[in-house]
Symmetry: C2
Subunit: 141 residues, 2 copies
Amino acid sequence: MTVGDPAPADLSGRRSTRQRSALVALLEELDEFRSAQDLHALLRARGDAVGLATVYRTLQSLVDDGQLDVLRSTDGEAAYRRCSPSHHHHLVCRSCGRTVEVADPPVERWAARMAAEHGFTDVQHQVEVFGTCAACTTAPS
Amino acid sequence: MTVGDPAPADLSGRRSTRQRSALVALLEELDEFRSAQDLHALLRARGDAVGLATVYRTLQSLVDDGQLDVLRSTDGEAAYRRCSPSHHHHLVCRSCGRTVEVADPPVERWAARMAAEHGFTDVQHQVEVFGTCAACTTAPS
DNA sequence: GATGTTCATGAGAATCATTCTCGCACAGCG
DNA sequence: CGCTGTGCGAGAATGATTCTCATGAACATC
C-alpha cells in the first residue's frame, strides 16, 4: 500500500490472452445460450483448447463486465450468451435449445411499477418462457 | 375400506407417510423460499428427522403435483415454497429474501400469445423480479 | 387381525457443475 | 532484456442433487 498504487479498478483492464480471445470469438459466433461445459467442448473441438477453469473464470469476468447474459436452466446448469445491445427476453425450446428473442416493453413497465409499489429499489427482472418449438413438437422423440 | 375415507388429498396415489406429512406440515408453516438442505435441517431440528434423499424425493413429487413453487437462486441452489392456489410470480428481496407474491394476468396472456406466435407448445414461463426491499434499502448492510 | 405386494425410506456412494489451489508461463512495462 | 504480477491449467475440493439397494411401512385383500 505504501508503494504508488493507483488501483484504477478498470473493468476493461483485462489482459489479452489467446484463451480469452478464443472464448470471446466463439461467443461472438453463437446465437444461443450454451453452458460453460458446452463452450469448453466447442473450443476444444475447434482446436483452441482452453482449460475448463479458465472458461469459468473468463465467463465470470465477462458477466461482471456486463458483456454476457446468464440463464439458469431448470436443471441447475448455467447458460451464457453474448449480450444484445437492447434489453429483451427469451423464448427457449426445452428440447432443442433454440432461442427466440422477444422484446416486451409492457412487461418492463409492469415490473418497474410493481417493484415501486412495494418499495423495492435497484430492480432487475428475469423473464424466460420455456416451451417446445414447432419442429420438436412434430419430430419424434 | 370400510371406514369413512378422510381423503389425504393425494393427487396421484402417493402414500401417506410420517416423513411426507412432516415435510408438508413444515412447508405449511413457512412463508419464504427455503432450500432443500435448509428444510432437511429444520426437520431434524424439530425432531422429525427425515433422510436427505427423502426430502429431495418428496419435494420433487410435490413440485410435480403443482403443490410447490421452485426458484433457482443465482448460486444454483433450488428453493421451495408452498404454492398459492392461483398462479402468480414473485418479487424477491435479494438482501433479506423477503418475498411478495404478485399476480399478473396480462403477463400470462402475453407469454401464451408470444409462444403461440412462434409455434411453441407446452409452454411454461418464469418471471421473477429481484430488488432490494424498503427495509434493506434504508438499513446499513 | 393376519398377510402379501408394492412403494417409500435412508445411509452412503455416485454424479456433476462449479470453484479452489498452486506452481508455472506469459503479457505489459521499464 | 529482464521484472512483476496476472492469467493459465491440471487436478483436487466442494456442495447440491441423484442414485443404489436392502429394509420397513402402507394399503388392499382375505
